[in-house]
Amino acid sequence: MFKHSNPKQRMLIFTLILLGCIFILFFGLRIFHISKKFNGGLPPPPRPAGEIETDVEKIREWMTIPFISRTYGVPEKILFEATGISPERNHKKSIEELNEEYFPSVDGYIIEQIKSAVRAHQPPPLTPVPSDSP
């Protein structure tokens, strides 16, 4: 099959095929693993506009306090109070930056404080209104 090719070309083609197989196997397995995280591969049902997030485990260190306040429906004032940090000049800082600035010796202190404050002060989720019909 490779009679009309030089060894360099042959090597290149085998490398391409091998590399292709490695990529396919590696990324294919990763996709298979990730797809398990989806709820049957479907997006979550659309939420009504303005509905708040409830899962505090989705709070990340890149988030700012105003962003968390808006996402989880907890007033900024409560979140700043929970962390013991003044809101002044701290609005645009991420949780990670705030932690490094105010509590450099305690890793993840602010995120834990914020999670607790959100759990304690989040408004209850909307419940369906029972109908009058029997």
């Binding site: 070309q9 292709g20 990324f27 996709i31 979550p44 939420r47 997030e53 991420s94």
Partner: protein, 197 residues
């Protein structure tokens, strides 16, 4: 880097996203796809206005891509000095003429890792700019509305979506590399048959 940029996007909104995707279009390795998916999720929360964000992002990234095309365009003389007599270069030019539009379109959103080489190659081979612009803009529209739309649709699950998409890009690249290898083997086989006939 991604975390820092996400913080800045929620602070400064669409104009900053536009600057980031512009720099990404020029060729800097920034996590632009992640930011586009996240921007979709932020739009769902009402933090970013989706129409302005989409418009600014599309215009910015297309301008960035056009600049990287121009890098290739003006580097042609240097490239030709070195490779003008190389049959491989001539073959690459010929094959880019045939496959250019598809490469430009799909590298905008499917295999983004090769977007910069494709832009440079388009300029260097003097692929017509109008055609480049057209396929580039179409690909970027799919990128922004497709990936931003997925972020919007999946909302708070956007991180999983990003993980899925970045791995899907790797898988596609693997399939392309594998297909090139197989095609080359088939070409050899064809040549062998022709010679034996």
């Amino acid at each position: 880097m991604s975390d820092y940029l996400l913080t800045q996007v929620i602070n400064y909104g669409a104009p900053l996203l536009g600057i980031i995707v512009f720099i990404g279009g020029v060729g800097a390795p920034l996590p632009c796809t992640l930011l586009v998916i996240a921007a979709g999720a932020f739009a769902r929360q009402g933090i970013l206005p989706w129409h302005t964000t989409a418009l600014i992002s599309i215009v910015s990234v297309v301008v960035g891509d056009s600049i990287s095309y121009s890098f290739g365009y003006y580097a042609r003389e240097h490239v030709m000095e070195r490779f003008s007599h190389s049959p491989q270069w001539l073959q690459a030019e010929e094959s880019f003429r045939n496959w250019g539009p598809l490469s430009i379109f799909f590298s905008r959103f499917l295999v983004t890792a090769i977007a910069l080489p494709v832009n440079l190659m388009s300029g260097t081979t003097r692929f017509p700019f109008k055609k480049f612009f057209l396929y580039d803009a179409l690909g970027e529209i799919v990128w922004i509305f497709g990936y931003g739309g997925l972020g919007y649709l999946f909302g708070s699950q956007w991180e999983v979506v990003n993980e899925f998409i970045s791995n899907f890009g790797g898988l596609t690249l693997g399939v392309i590399i594998f297909a090139i290898g197989i095609k080359q083997i088939l070409n050899w086989q064809q040549k062998r048959q022709q010679l034996s006939n």
